[in-house]
Symmetry: C2
Subunit: 345 residues, 2 copies
């Protein structure tokens, strides 16, 4: 575990509109704060953008994080913002190299909370081997935001053997879920006002880039498709595959990896775990001939100890996900019509 | 002028939390809305990220836009978000190629306003010759945001002859302001509640990438430093140069390009135009020997008709910006201590 950077003595305890002005307060916040924690050669140039060289095919992704609460069991919004964008790039078959970091902070936000988040960002970057090289800070009036929103955008280098796209998927391909589902969503719900209950369920937020690199190193273009099952859970990803790919998806309920305690929490809250958000779980669609080797590699990886083959791609019931339940019945798993858990990431 | 894409018939007039869920409503908003307007080959892949190839040195920049009001004389938040990031890349000496686009929308935001903004984004992209290739949409509860915040991040290709950095600046270099200052800030103020007055002052928001490309094509590394004078106005940029570059800055008030009407509005509002935000004005620090040729090139460019040499770099009064006033006095122009105009960009 890395040491956190201790907070220097600032002459302000909270963020005010002046910190977004581009004037003295902005510079003080950046020079004594942000740059101290995140420093690296490219960021230290302090230009309007960062200049670098990268060889090969590149991937580019963006996400804004509005999770509420910003601190939750197993992580915080800063860690989520780094891992989320690193993982989006990984799902394209790319290793994230550089991130941008942009804050929209509500006036009155505590400096000590910003410091905690900054340190988490730095630690998550170090763990994923990425650097923040450019950034921005805006401040909005009290009541015009909600504590802090964070955007990260990322640039990664594509693995030379990666060829990950919907059109690669074919009938008979195996569908793998990489780990126990629904932990992130339930960890967030357990903290939300009015829904607190006693569990030790933690968010599964983590960087998946090294796991995906190992997968592609070993199996190359036989990894047909990857997507992390964040907002909307595994049900939404499987529906996207069925609908956008114009194919059928068969899954078996008994094979879906789900922790007992999380399952209990879902039942208590009336949530279907298939739709609950994850931040460290991905769906892999792979050539069925390599299924056993892929499962061996995954279950030896710390991020995928509970990986399971949950089903396969079919040329029947096109554009539909069909689940075979534990008691033998079959039902359609639709895309979520509305909102189940707002502001989950 | 390009035609706007007409708004299709949606079964919703306003954005609700479901549009940020990753479920059916998100897909309907994206497929019938966002993708229709912004479509291009890379975006159409609809992956978690976009994959592309670019040769040469690259630049990367990010900005979140929280301007209020979102529609103002001369532009709107969407146009600003494209031009702002295109210009940040231009100031590094890079031509923007690809942008990411991330929305944080407040529940209840009008679909027709989102459509107007989307069309502005598309038109600004076409004008600057950039493409949106990846994006994200989040929705927050009513009262937890303010209509819409937009993050754009951008990747550009560095001009092969660009060498723009603080350490290139030397004593005797000429300081150019590229156009009339303070228009954007005053246009915003003119719309703000309680401060409305009758003017035809418009925001100067525009893409500066082609102007900068011409400059570097013609003068290469003799263009020592560039920065657009957004938040905090030209005074903040000049102070950053003096402080971060450890040098002195001399400017003459009489040479600063400023429209009479804007000057009058500044006086009425008690604002110093040197600190008022611009969205289409940059500061160039150049080798003094090419001053006349640079001025000729700039004043022939539509974005820089009122460009002026406003001063020079000195090895006296290090880390200070000194202004010689019209009536002959000299005063220090400090960095803005607090906030003059919140949420100007």
């Amino acid at each position: 575990m890395q040491l956190s950077c201790p907070m220097p003595k600032f002459d302000f305890d909270t963020i005010n509109l002046g910190h977004g002005s581009g004037g003295v307060l902005t510079h003080r916040l950046l020079n004594s704060g942000v740059f101290t924690v995140l420093q690296n050669d490219l960021l230290n140039e302090k230009h309007d953008g960062a200049v670098f060289e990268l060889q090969g095919k590149l991937a580019f992704s963006t996400d804004s994080y509005v999770v509420s609460p910003i601190f939750f069991p197993g992580g915080n919004i800063g860690e989520l913002a780094v891992n989320g964008t690193v993982n989006d790039l990984a799902m394209c078959g790319a290793m994230a190299k550089y991130l941008s970091l942009s804050f929209i902070i509500e006036e009155g936000f505590k400096m000590k909370d910003l410091w905690t988040i900054l340190n988490s960002i730095k630690q998550s970057c170090d763990k994923a081997n990425v650097q923040i090289i450019t950034g921005d800070t805006k401040v909005v009036e009290k009541g015009k935001g909600d504590k802090i929103f964070i955007n990260t955008s990322g640039i990664g280098v594509l693995h030379p053997n990666a060829d990950i796209r919907l059109s690669k998927i074919k009938t008979g391909d195996a569908i793998i879920v990489s780990n126990n589902i629904a932990n992130h969503g339930i960890a967030i719900m357990s903290k939300r006002q009015g829904l607190e209950f006693e569990t030790d369920i933690k968010s599964d937020t983590t960087n998946l880039n090294f796991t995906i690199q190992k997968l592609i190193d070993a199996f190359g273009e036989k990894i047909h498709f990857l997507r992390d099952a964040t907002r909307g859970g595994i049900a939404s990803v499987l529906n996207e595959i069925a609908i956008d790919g114009n194919m059928g998806v068969d899954i078996q309920e008994k094979n879906i990896p789900l922790n007992e305690q999380v399952n209990g929490a879902c039942e208590m809250l009336g949530l279907d775990p298939l739709y609950v958000a994850n931040e460290g779980v991905f769906i892999a669609i792979i050539d069925a001939t390599i299924q056993n080797e892929v499962m061996q590699l995954l279950t030896e990886d710390d991020n995928c100890k509970n990986a399971k083959v949950i089903g396969s791609i079919t040329n029947e019931h096109i554009r539909q996900v069909i689940l075979q339940s534990k008691i033998g019945g079959r039902r359609v798993v639709n895309m979520l019509p509305g909102e189940q858990l707002p502001r989950i990431c």
